[in-house]
């Protein structure tokens, strides 16, 4: 286990070094890309479609969702490709193969933290004073996303060895996920449309994670009047957060079992 931690650390470091080799801006790219993405959404949705008129502090609302979704998309995308990309190693040397998807998620976490710092800075400017439960929610949301990405990454990463279609399926999931959770719009719009089927939307762990992030970052920046007009989704903390935790742990468990079973034949299938 100790050996694996050391190896994991080196694999994460390798990935980060290799990714930014020969680039002048280096890790700066992991700030620039989300900022540009944020700007595009803010102009298109916030200004053109005027969501910022109906949603106070829309910039904070938008950015807190985007950084979390970015973490998920990068983590899952990289984890899915990690096994096939490291095929040279897997074919020739025995080492715990789980390390590759797990390292991919860690690399994404390394990219996520600077964005989180930017987000916190922006929140502090507009008077962010979170409560202790809100800080806890932040941590839980991060864990939810990390565990979910690891579980799905193990599953699709292993499947990708056998069928390269897996990458495309994941790309589609990643395309949908930004829209299937309340990142760009507010959750009540979905409730209006789905009615009693709204629970399906809440079953999505990413919805829960994003809403927890909103609660941690966006809510503390609102005035009392604004808060009254923007309630949390029903039963978010009492019911849906535990359900999301249970679901992600289950997915992680399934991912690991599948990975274990399929990994025995990785070397010959790659």
């Amino acid at each position: 286990m100790l050996r694996d931690r050391f190896l994991l650390k080196l694999l994460v470091r390798k990935e980060i070094r290799v990714r930014y080799r020969g680039s002048v801006l280096g890790l700066m790219w992991s700030y620039l890309k989300p900022l540009l993405q944020f700007a595009v959404y803010f102009v298109a949705l916030g200004i053109f479609l005027n969501l910022r008129g109906s949603t106070p502090n829309y910039a904070i609302y938008l950015f807190s969702g985007i950084v979390l979704i970015n973490f998920f998309t990068e983590a899952l995308g990289n984890a899915t490709r990690s096994i096939v990309e490291n095929r040279d190693l897997i074919r020739k040397i025995y080492l715990p193969r789980e390390l590759f998807p797990v390292a991919a998620v860690w690399v994404s976490a390394v990219h996520f933290f600077p964005q989180l710092v930017v987000l916190m800075g922006a929140c502090l400017v507009v008077g962010w004073v979170p409560s202790a439960p809100q800080i806890a929610a932040l941590v839980i949301a991060f864990l939810l996303v990390a565990v979910l990405a690891t579980g799905l990454g193990l599953l699709f990463g292993a499947a990708n060895v056998y069928f390269r279609d897996s990458e495309n399926i994941v790309d589609m999931i990643l395309m949908i996920v930004t829209w299937a959770s309340p990142v760009l719009y507010v959750w009540s719009m979905v409730e209006d449309v789905l009615g009693r089927w709204f629970f399906l939307y809440q079953l999505n762990p990413m919805t829960v994670a994003v809403e927890l992030f909103h609660w941690a970052f966006w809510y503390p920046t609102l005035t009392d009047v604004e808060l009254a007009a923007a309630p949390l989704p029903p039963d978010l903390l009492t019911l849906w957060t535990p359900i999301a935790l249970a679901l992600t742990v289950l997915i992680m468990f399934l991912g690991q079992i599948t990975f274990r079973r399929l990994s025995a034949n990785f070397a010959q299938e790659l």
Binding site: L10, K14, I93, Y94
Partner: protein, 252 residues
């Protein structure tokens, strides 16, 4: 071989390995095949190893011999754990280091130093041990000042020397060597050979695959001959080497 009979390092018992040569990598074709009632075969199969059994005791030096495609490399990969046998069992005792295609764990864009750490960790060395061994690894490899250069700029000799050096410094109990001695210049070959003999003298278990029969005879005591995935003979290396020579002449 006397006196170590009861101390097995590798037990290979009735090992079979079949390879599936799959032609398709797409879900669509697989689904069509299932829908059509699994008619025909999506794949071709061949037996890489058939019912191979032997035991290697600790401290033995064994040469795996055979022509190309006889299953030697598959057997090494099974022993190293990269592949799993279909049936039969393969037990190993002690840490294994493989020189199976050396430098597999190298990343071209990292410096020699980073690669020593990465490759050392991949081969199972803890951080402290690599720190301790670092200078010795670089010395043995004769890399010197180039250690902080990216390995893509290394000559193939330097690359190989560094990889070999890391592998021998992992201090494994079982050492798998696949065709490494074919590369590198004469002085380094001699150095490698000396190191391998030193490992053997220190009581390490050695499994060597090589087509250089003379060389193998000087390093190993025992030989195992494989042909088309079957174990043909197992005995003193001279006998097995002459058997292989006889068989390859008979083929011509």
């Amino acid at each position: 071989m006397e006196g170590m009979v009861d101390d097995p390092a590798i037990i290979c018992d009735g090992v079979q390995k079949q390879f599936v040569l799959r032609h398709t990598r797409s879900l669509k074709e697989a689904l069509v095949w299932i829908v059509k009632g699994r008619k025909g075969d999506l794949s071709r199969k061949f037996d890489a190893l058939q019912d191979v059994s032997f035991t290697v005791n600790r401290g033995e030096t064994v040469a795996l011999l055979g022509l190309n495609g006889s299953g030697k490399s598959t057997l090494l990969k099974l022993i190293s754990g990269v592949l799993q046998p279909d049936t039969g069992s393969l037990l190993t005792k002690g840490r294994i280091a493989g020189l199976i295609e050396v430098g597999a764990g190298f990343h071209h864009d990292l410096s020699g130093r980073d690669n020593v750490y990465l490759n050392g960790a991949i081969l199972g060395m803890p951080e402290r041990k690599i720190d301790q061994m670092f200078d010795s690894i670089v010395d043995f490899a004769e890399i010197g000042e180039f250690i902080d250069t990216e390995v893509k700029f290394y000559s193939s000799g330097m690359y190989l020397r560094l990889a070999f050096s890391i592998a021998v410094h992992t201090d494994p109990e079982i050492f798998l060597v696949d065709e490494i001695l074919a590369v590198g210049d004469e002085p380094f070959q001699r150095k490698c050979l000396a190191k391998i003999k030193e490992l053997a003298a220190a009581g390490k278990t050695l499994l060597v695959v090589s087509h250089d029969l003379d060389l193998v005879s000087t390093v190993c005591e025992r030989g195992i001959l494989l042909e088309h995935g079957k174990l043909i003979t197992d005995g003193p290396v001279e006998d097995v080497v002459s058997e292989l020579r006889r068989r390859s002449r008979a083929d011509d």
